[in-house]
């Protein structure tokens, strides 16, 4: 408002003829939607470009619609979507656990040579193997081996492919908060004595290990080395 009153005073301060011309110009310009208001009164010139509120709102609305439309189209036709792997999360509702006579070593030799395994079962007093199978298809989605080593270490190893997220593996991965490199492999691990935990991926398979061994809080790393050797 102060700007308007200054403007009004400026015009009123001119002589009558100039003043009347200016008021006429102003009146005609005020009827236009957008206008360049140039008032040359004496040595004072003011240039102001205004868009009306209506046209501004239209521009904003159109821009918003284009943005939303673009996002929707991207989501529908995402060129990258089909290239992302679908990782399945499997819980006790999806699978059953069968105790089997086949060790991870036997299974690897028969079905998948890429799977790592402990080579020498004579090191273990006790070995129990289980397979996690989907209830509806009987597909084997995970292997579990529970081992009791002659040195007193209690070991669990779980193996899944890298497109399967088995809920049971989380009891290990939730305890892994450190990382290191072993034989150029990225290992995530952790320990809360006397149990140490580790997980890593190798050649398309995920490995989760725990070792309950009071003599060594990092025993699991020795087991990882043994698997990778």
């Amino acid at each position: 408002m102060s700007r308007e009153s200054d403007f009004h005073k400026l015009i009123e301060s001119q002589d009558t003829e100039s003043k009347e011309e200016v008021w006429k110009k102003l009146e005609s310009r005020l009827t236009e939607e957008s206008s360049d208001i140039v008032v040359g009164v004496g040595e004072v010139g003011v240039l102001a470009k205004k868009f009306s509120r209506k046209s501004r709102n239209i521009i904003i609305s159109v821009a918003a619609c284009l943005l939303v439309a673009g996002l929707v189209l991207f989501i529908i036709f995402n060129p990258f979507r089909n290239n992302l792997p679908n990782i399945r999360y499997c819980t006790v509702n999806d699978y059953r656990i069968d105790e089997v006579e086949i060790t991870i070593k036997d299974y690897a030799i028969e079905n998948s040579p890429k799977i790592l395994y402990f080579d020498d079962y004579t090191e273990f007093e006790y070995c129990v193997d289980k397979q996690y199978k989907l209830k509806d298809t009987n597909e084997i989605i995970g292997l579990h081996e529970e081992l009791y080593s002659l040195n007193g270490a209690f070991i669990n190893i779980y193996v899944t492919d890298n497109l399967t997220d088995l809920d049971v593996a989380h009891l290990i991965s939730n305890n892994c908060n450190k990382s290191l490199k072993l034989d150029n492999m990225h290992i995530i691990w952790g320990s809360y004595e006397p149990i140490s935990y580790a997980q890593f991926e190798y050649d398309g398979y995920l490995y989760y290990l725990s070792a309950d061994y009071p003599e060594d809080n990092e025993y699991v790393l020795k087991l990882v080395e043994e698997l990778l050797s």
Binding site: E99, E125, D167, L171, C176, Y192
Partner: protein, 279 residues
């Protein structure tokens, strides 16, 4: 009788009915609340955890005082298709524990490794058989989903009695809280504690020389039953000054992704808890 008097009597009678109905409804609700249902894993517990907190504690030194039953208790998982069977799993874990001392509790089966005393996980025959017996004795899914506390305790006791043994329960909550001294006494004397939980918070801890990472995640449950076998008291120091103490109850949960868990002692996750002595 005048109209006014009749109206007065009607009002009094209506008010009396209203009050008695309210009291009845409150009483029923109170009864229902005290006999909550525990439906456990699978159908009863969300299989996704929500992270509540993650913190790193820095220290110059720490000390963990552990009081645990020797070799713990068996960490069983539900037998296949044992829907809402957390009571049966907990009962089997207790029986599996005591089978080391009374081998007729689970006939023709040894629940532990003789060389170390360490408990084994489920086999495919004997432990599922125990679970299904418990499931039936506990009246699982009969009145409603899962078990009530009383059915769970009665069913476990019935199983033990059928095997020719006695079972006694002792409350380990005092003044509405888990009693630390009572719990420590139980675990020192190799007595497991069955606990009826209203929430499952997973505490995952990992220690390095000068820092510990503690992650807490919550699994949604309407009620779950666990068996506790230990307590860890962790003191953190900066120099000679102890600046923090955390106390955890250690328990087997019957959950495949959380076989053993630490529950923070002071938090309100436990509706009731009883030591279980079998002889």
């Amino acid at each position: 009788m005048g109209l006014k008097v009749k109206k007065f009597i009607l009002c009094v009678v209506s008010a009396a009915l209203l009050v008695s109905n309210a009291l009845f409804a409150f009483g029923m609700q109170a009864t229902a609340a005290s006999e909550g249902r525990y439906s456990g894993y699978g159908d009863g517990i969300s299989t996704y955890a929500t992270t509540i907190s993650s913190e790193t504690v820095y220290f110059t030194d720490y000390n963990i005082a552990k009081t645990e039953i020797v070799n713990g208790v068996p960490a069983y998982l539900p037998a296949n298709n044992l829907t809402n069977g957390c009571g049966a799993v907990a009962g089997a874990e207790i029986v599996g524990f005591y089978d080391k001392f009374y081998e007729d509790l689970i006939p023709d089966y040894r629940t532990y490794l003789p060389s170390s005393g360490r408990y084994l996980s489920n086999d495919s025959v004997h432990i599922p058989k125990v679970m299904w017996e418990m499931y039936s004795l506990m009246r699982t899914n009969v009145d409603d989903v899962g078990v009530s506390e009383s059915d769970c305790l009665n069913g476990l006791k019935a199983y033990v009695n059928l095997k020719g043994h006695n079972l006694a329960y002792d409350n380990v909550k005092k003044n509405g809280k888990l009693d630390e001294a009572t719990l420590l006494n139980c675990f020192s004397n190799n007595i497991p504690v069955i606990m009826f939980c209203n929430r499952i918070d997973q505490y995952a801890m990992s220690f390095s020389p000068n820092e510990a990472t503690i992650n807490c995640s919550n699994y949604t449950t309407s009620g779950h039953i666990i068996v506790a076998f230990g307590m860890h008291i962790i003191d953190y120091y900066n120099g000679n000054v102890k600046f923090r103490t955390d106390k955890y109850v250690k328990a087997v949960t019957g959950m495949s992704n959380l076989k053993e868990n630490y529950f923070k002692l002071e938090e309100n996750w436990c509706n009731s808890a009883y030591s279980v002595t079998i002889n």
